[in-house]
Symmetry: C2
Subunit: 328 residues, 2 copies
């Protein structure tokens, strides 16, 4: 039986967002044992669905790496300790990103051979359908070329395992598609990637191309990836906000909106990062998913599904195997 | 009489895009002397509106810095030589970005005191109205903290001169809003900016916040700025494409679109970078505007208007003055 541990308290909405998600997850995947970590009086509705583990405190959004480890009674740390004690397969939290990433890395530890874990997110690929895997989107603040080359390898293993792609196409995020473009580290990573036979490396791509490129995996350093992810989200949010305002301007437009709103909803469903379900930290000994801090039950449920897919795909074992082979 | 030089050949659409733009510019600003550089037989319609300067070649989009300078008969180089010979105020081109930036920097030279010129673009500020000034979006591949601190100063002078802001609020692009976030160079730049009395520095902002922050000027290095700009453009383009497709799906939606299309058009007008008019290289001795490579006559005209506003605002002189005072 597979085991997942859920930090029930991390979302801005608290257990309101997570309880419903855990209930439907249990209904859909009754073969999973769920450990629900949080204030037990709020987790009453889960007593049939999950093993409840009491934890009283919430890690504040501003908590740093060392701070979180000192918060031994927080839901996040108790969840991690439960993960270790139960030898669980996956852990999920909507809590403070920085704290979660450091605590997971310190407690679960890196897979042997991995220089740095990477935070992954998926964008819809409008050209080919399916999803583009982007990494690192913020586990690191800066990365060496060697780390970026490893991200390409981990991204490849991820896209194979989770999306079933046979030979995922990898590109490097740069400020232009030509060879010779890129950050100083990116240019060095380009050389390493060109020589790496395990990766189907196809050169550079740029920010504007990510949604409409042929790439299945896009590699960058954690700082740039974070800016890219947030800029795209920001632009989409800005556009949605303006659209909403525009549609309300007069009666004719309101009518138009009522007729066409199916299109708007579909659009949001495709582009909303919430529906892709947060970000996944890979390269550690376990499947760790960071759901959005402002998770609703729908988006938290969706992040749990990503967790499920990653566990089912055996991503942790595949990365461990990949790095073991690389060392031989 | 103010003078501007127009590279008529750089756009993918060639003189088709630029001739109409020059005609309406001349009509709107008859007090400007325009030098139109390109194949003279294609510039016939401009003989009343502009001084025609013959140039036979186009700089290819892939041309590097040294390559372009060797192309002495190209419209881009002839335009730059015309700028120098005529002591013009501004130059505009839709040609190869890299080539244009290097050629402008080499020929016009940096304003004394400026470490690196910066490429500026403007985003709509949905919170405050008006525009956010983002720099550098790609004049450099990497920048030192000192260069980034100078970008903040130049951006401040730009926002004051071009948008008439009294005390523009400056933020630094980071991977989080808290102090201590940012790239290694960004963190150093943070310190320099905190100490700079000439700048109204208000800390960090992140990619998602740029459209909806209070910042008037957002500072980053050229690589990150380029990724941010292109990611936002890419996301908006992806969203527009999906929307178009969605509206065509059935009769009801088509009807809805017809009623509501005013809203869609307004939205595009606000967010389309083409309507903001390309990017501006500042920190050199003259106003240099890089229009989009796929400029149409509308967007090229709009880029010319940006050129006009910058010249009228005396941006070159104000930056020169600012750096002179800084040295004293």
């Amino acid at each position: 039986m597979k085991k997942i541990v859920v930090d029930m308290m991390g979302s801005d909405l608290g257990t309101q967002a997570t309880v419903g998600a855990v209930l439907t997850f249990h209904k859909d995947h009754p073969d999973y044992q769920i450990f629900a970590v949080g204030k037990q009086e709020e987790l009453e509705p889960l007593k049939e669905a999950a093993t409840i583990v009491d934890a009283r405190d919430v890690v504040p959004m501003t908590a740093g790496a060392l701070e979180v480890l000192r918060m031994k009674t927080s839901s996040m740390v108790v969840a991690l300790d439960t993960f270790l004690a139960e030898k669980a397969d996956g852990i999920i939290s909507a809590g403070a990103t920085g704290a979660f990433l450091s605590a997971v890395t310190l407690k679960l530890k890196k897979i042997p051979g991995v220089l740095r874990p990477a935070l992954i997110t998926n964008f819809p690929n409008l050209k080919k359908g399916g999803y583009v895997t982007l990494l690192d989107v913020g586990a690191s603040n800066e990365n060496t070329p060697e780390e970026m080359a490893q991200f390409a390898f981990m991204g490849t293993l991820f896209a194979k395992a989770v999306f079933g792609l046979e030979n995922p196409e990898v590109k490097l995020l740069a400020n232009g598609t030509e060879e010779g473009k890129g950050s100083p580290e990116g240019k060095e990573a380009f050389k390493l990637l060109s020589e790496d036979k395990r990766i189907n490396f196809q050169g550079n791509t740029e920010g504007s191309a990510v949604f409409t490129d042929t790439a299945d995996v896009v590699v960058t350093d954690g700082f740039t990836g974070n800016v890219m992810l947030k800029s795209s989200e920001g632009a989409i949010k800005a556009m949605s906000g303006l659209m909403k305002k525009g549609f309300k301007k007069n009666f004719k437009r309101k009518m138009g909106y009522l007729l066409a709103k199916g299109a708007i909803k579909e659009l949001k469903a495709v582009l909303d990062p919430k529906n892709v379900g947060g970000a996944m930290l890979i390269g550690v000994n376990g499947v760790a998913v960071k759901a959005h801090g402002n998770s609703t039950d729908v988006s938290f449920r969706s992040a749990m599904e990503v967790e499920y897919r990653m566990i089912e795909a055996g991503i942790t074992e595949k990365i461990a195997q990949g790095f073991k082979e690389a060392e031989q």
